[in-house]
């Protein structure tokens, strides 16, 4: 009843093309931003911020990256973890080679390295599709993991083989390294993720985003409408990998603090792919829902016993939470194979037409 566009007349195409044409949605988004930027930093505990919110944002950004490729451009990739790794190692190298360069610039630059590598491993997509393409990206994953281990130059020949995040300042405040507080790191990450999501939304609703979807839905027709498959597919790989690369850089510099090759392994590729599938292919909101579902829910489930002083072993709880999450994934995929975002949209549609479901 309260979610309704009745009375909201759009008098220009501009208003109709707005990202969120319904006023209630705009209010909702504003509320979420308010909570994210004000309420959480003021009220939440350090644990909540550094173990839930920061990883959630990192994964959501990586999911946005993969969703651009998989959900919008229709190209399967199992190399997300490795592309994140490229961003992370590039960020580390740049930060140590140019210690005076602003760390935010370094983060954004490192995405370009991931984009370049993404384009190279996207080349086979011009010839092969679907699962076969997935196999070549799998090859990329393993090859890049091998590089992260074997090329000592990438981690400055540290004995541990890990990259250690140096301390960097912004406005006189430590934003990376051991002395950066969770709240600062959280705010930096949140700002970057919010801006990059907005940019992705802009690109996706314009000519370039449409060209990706055209190739996804009917490549022959797209070509006959003037889309060059080469350019379109590779630009999707570049754009997507850029996002994954920045997510990887953020992951190491603002969350983990140090990382080895394990942080970029195939499990992470799958983790992010699950987020995209559960959240909804071809939906940006879905990326956040998927990341919340796959990352936040288990953390909360694991925290339940201590919160209620139940006497359950941590290991047992780990198993229980895996079972619950697994069951929920199956449940949601049966109810709505197109993901949480679609479920949300269908729910809103019902609300919009309630109590006359046949009104449209």
């Amino acid at each position: 009843m309260f979610y309704r566009e009745a009375g909201q007349f759009k008098t220009t195409y501009e208003a109709d093309q707005a990202m969120l044409p319904i006023a209630q949605d705009r209010v909702g988004l504003l509320l979420i931003l308010l909570i994210a930027f004000a309420a959480i930093p003021l009220l939440a505990s350090d644990f909540f911020i550094s173990s839930i919110m920061i990883p959630f944002l990192v994964f959501a950004l990586a999911a946005v990256g993969l969703n651009i490729l998989m959900g919008y451009a229709g190209q399967l990739s199992l190399g997300t973890g490795a592309f994140m790794g490229v961003g992370a190692y590039a960020c580390y190298k740049l930060a140590t080679l140019f210690p005076d360069l602003n760390i935010l610039i370094v983060v954004f630059l490192s995405g370009f390295f991931a984009a370049g590598i993404g384009v190279i491993f996207g080349l086979p997509s011009l010839r092969i599709k679907g699962l076969y393409l997935a196999i070549t990206t799998l090859a990329a994953q393993f090859f890049l993991e091998w590089c992260f281990i074997r090329i000592g130059w990438l981690y400055n020949y540290n004995d541990s083989g890990a990259i250690e995040v140096p301390q960097r300042m912004l406005f006189g405040l430590a934003i990376t390294g051991p002395h950066a507080t969770p709240i600062t790191r959280y705010l930096v990450i949140l700002t970057i993720v919010a801006i990059m999501t907005l940019v992705a939304a802009n690109v996706l609703r314009g000519r370039i985003g449409r060209s990706w979807m055209m190739i996804r839905d009917m490549d022959i027709a797209a070509e006959l409408m003037g889309i060059r498959p080469l350019f379109s597919k590779l630009s999707a790989f570049a754009f997507s990998s850029y996002y994954c690369g920045v997510a990887g850089a953020l992951m190491v510099f603002f969350w983990l603090g140090s990382a080895e090759v394990e942080s970029f392994d195939i499990n992470h590729s799958f983790l992010i792919m699950f987020m995209v599938i559960i959240g909804g292919m071809g939906s940006l909101a879905g990326c956040f829902m998927g990341a919340a579902f796959i990352w936040v829910l288990p953390v909360i489930l694991r925290a339940i016993p201590s919160a209620f002083e139940l006497n359950i072993l941590a290991a047992t709880m780990e198993h229980i939470s895996s079972i619950i999450i697994g069951a929920l994934i199956i449940f949601f995929l049966i109810v709505e194979p197109h993901g949480l975002a679609r479920l949300w949209r269908v729910g809103k549609e019902k609300l919009r037409t309630w109590p006359f479901p046949y009104a449209t």
């Binding site: 609703r205 839905d217 009917m218 003037g226």
Partner: protein
């Protein structure tokens, strides 16, 4: 086969000269040639889909391509817009002769088409499908697209306006925001026409735009095609099985059978041609 006369428009003699139906070869030759196909041969392995076919399409006309199933009609369109590359022959478009061309080059030189089996972008809305036809006309680069302000936004809105005219023209405003995948077949064909129209083509290739439609839908579609031709001056090449429709719409007809051209002329001429009658009645070859 219905009306033998050309019922295109009410009286051809009074409409403006450029759109008048070509009455005979003499008049046809006086008009400017938009596309000509010369001795084109296309084979798939051992199958000769098209053998040594020549014909032309004049500026502003509606040219029908007819023939029994498997005659090579769709293959001919695929050759024209660069999707298939013929082994022999030449194609001249707007005075330029070419042998090979990529589909997107055909698109940028002003050739659009619809498909025999609807080939819409099924995950996108009607509006986005038609907007996608504007892809080549939109020029703003990545940076502007990322910001979606100023020029990029103005461009998007200008094209949206153009697309809305097409939506009005085709009377599909009520399905503007619906995903096309779930639309009934007749409407999908209409959206596909809209998407091709959005490219503002000089030559529009329609592959059986009315297949599987009921009478009313066919009448609507015929009206759109005629209006498109007379209002926007779009040259149209049309494949159609319904002879009544062909007789009503086409200025000239080329008939294919087993990959060969068996007749070429006005609908009336073609209809009385013995080869054509044999081909359609299935006389033994």
């Amino acid at each position: 086969m219905s009306t033998p006369a050309n019922a295109h428009g009410d009286s051809p003699a009074t409409t403006e000269p450029g759109v008048v139906a070509a009455a005979g070869d003499n008049e046809a030759q006086r008009r400017e040639q938009l596309l000509s196909v010369e001795n084109v041969t296309l084979t798939f392995g051992g199958v000769k889909a098209i053998s040594d076919i020549s014909f032309n399409i004049l500026k502003g006309e509606i040219r029908a391509i007819i023939g029994p199933n498997g005659a090579g009609k769709t293959s001919m369109l695929n050759v024209i817009n660069g999707f298939y590359h013929p082994q022999k022959g030449r194609i001249s478009y707007k005075g330029k002769t070419r042998k090979r061309m990529k589909p997107y080059q055909a698109a940028s030189s002003g050739i659009a088409r619809t498909f025999q089996n609807v080939a819409l972008f099924s995950g996108m809305s009607t509006l986005d499908n038609i907007m996608s036809g504007r892809s080549l006309k939109m020029k703003r680069g990545l940076i502007w697209q990322m910001l979606h302000v100023g020029p990029a936004r103005r461009e998007e809105i200008a094209h949206r306006e153009h697309v809305e005219h097409i939506i009005d023209f085709l009377e599909i405003a009520h399905i503007r925001k619906q995903p096309v995948g779930k639309l009934p077949y007749g409407l999908q064909k209409r959206v596909e026409l809209g998407r091709a129209m959005a490219m503002e083509p000089e030559l529009l290739l329609l592959d059986e735009p009315m297949a599987g439609m009921n009478l009313e839908e066919k009448e609507d579609m015929s009206r759109f095609i005629l209006d498109l031709n007379s209002e926007f001056g779009t040259t149209i090449a049309l494949i159609e099985h319904d002879m009544g429709v062909v007789m009503d719409l086409a200025d000239r007809v080329v008939v294919l059978d087993y990959g060969q051209k068996i007749a070429d002329g006005t609908p009336a001429e073609v209809q009385s041609n013995q080869n054509v009658i044999d081909a359609y009645l299935g006389v033994a070859h």
